[in-house]
Subunit: 192 residues, 2 copies
């Protein structure tokens, strides 16, 4: 199926997968189109799936005690999103996963997870590199939060993801970068 080809192309950038293993993957992954605001993981529930974004965008966020939705991660095309810790430990998640816009995803559910990794052990290599990329990107974010001004953080983000900035609601981008929507408006006005 066309949607799996996007994933296979992605996997091929990091490791080789035998054709028989691709077939197993097709069998195990579910394809789904979700509407904007569709809640894939509600906070305080155990996370039971990995999501691979084909089109659209997901966000992982936390409802804070102050009643704010703090966005910690976006899932854009080619990105796996999940609360991997909740998935691993089966403890309730502290996060929500929601579609920011109509989004197409491939879903790996818990019921298929163990068998899939047993039958296609090469996926450990692929996901090792995915987790490594995500970890290093997150470390970079910590660095930006600790070392750079809000203005510099915004600049770096716009340069790294120019198309993404056009698509995403501005208040979500502000949340992700750690400042208020008002401050973001000011920065954007300054750049025009």
């Amino acid at each position: 199926m066309k949607q799996h080809i996007i994933l296979f192309d992605h996997i091929r950038r990091f490791t080789r997968l035998e054709t028989t293993h691709e077939a197993i993957l097709v069998e195990k992954l579910k394809y789904k189109t979700v509407d904007r605001k569709c809640q894939l993981l509600p906070q305080d529930q155990v996370c039971n799936a990995y999501y691979f974004v084909l089109e659209g965008c997901l966000r992982l966020y936390k409802n804070t005690e102050d009643g704010i939705e703090q966005i910690l991660q976006f899932g854009i095309p080619g990105w796996w999103l999940s609360d991997f810790q909740s998935f691993e430990t089966r403890r309730p998640s502290e996060y929500n996963i929601q579609a920011v816009q109509p989004t197409k995803v491939l879903i790996l559910e818990r019921a298929d997870y163990a068998q899939l990794f047993e039958e296609v052990p090469e996926l450990n290599h692929y996901f090792r590199l995915m987790m490594q990329k995500a970890y290093m990107a997150s470390l970079k974010k910590v660095e930006l939060l600790l070392c750079e001004s809000a203005e510099k953080r915004y600049e770096q983000f716009v340069n790294a993801f120019p198309n993404f900035v056009q698509i995403i609601p501005q208040y979500m981008l502000a949340s992700f970068l750690g400042f208020s929507p008002q401050f973001l408006s000011m920065l954007r006005a300054k750049r025009c």
Copy 2:
């Protein structure tokens, strides 16, 4: 060797390794004791090794444009530390890795890396889980930086790593948590 047993015990918490594979690991990993302030990775050089901390502590930090050493990650016993991105891409690292105190490490060098993962593919599973843990811990840190006061961040850290707080120089802990040493002194005085 005793030092490898610590690693095998650690690996066993996450996956099974055959005895023959343990032997390959012993052969490939180098054991080293490093003095305080020993620089394992200097900024702007390609990172060519993974470090597994057996005893002591390493720090990964960045020399910022303001002349500050911004600590982004500590490597405590049972933790793998590296600039995994620089290792993967062979691009110069933006970070330094240095011993905070006399430290015992096992070192996986680039020269042995590819062959080790080929001969012991189960390590992909182990490192997938290691990267996943590191990623989720880093996401938690982003959350704390964005949502919590400096005081709350300190409290959470002390509760999570009470012994570590006793050992680590205070100015380093302040850097890691994103506030000044003066502010940390004030917090500590308040808690006594």
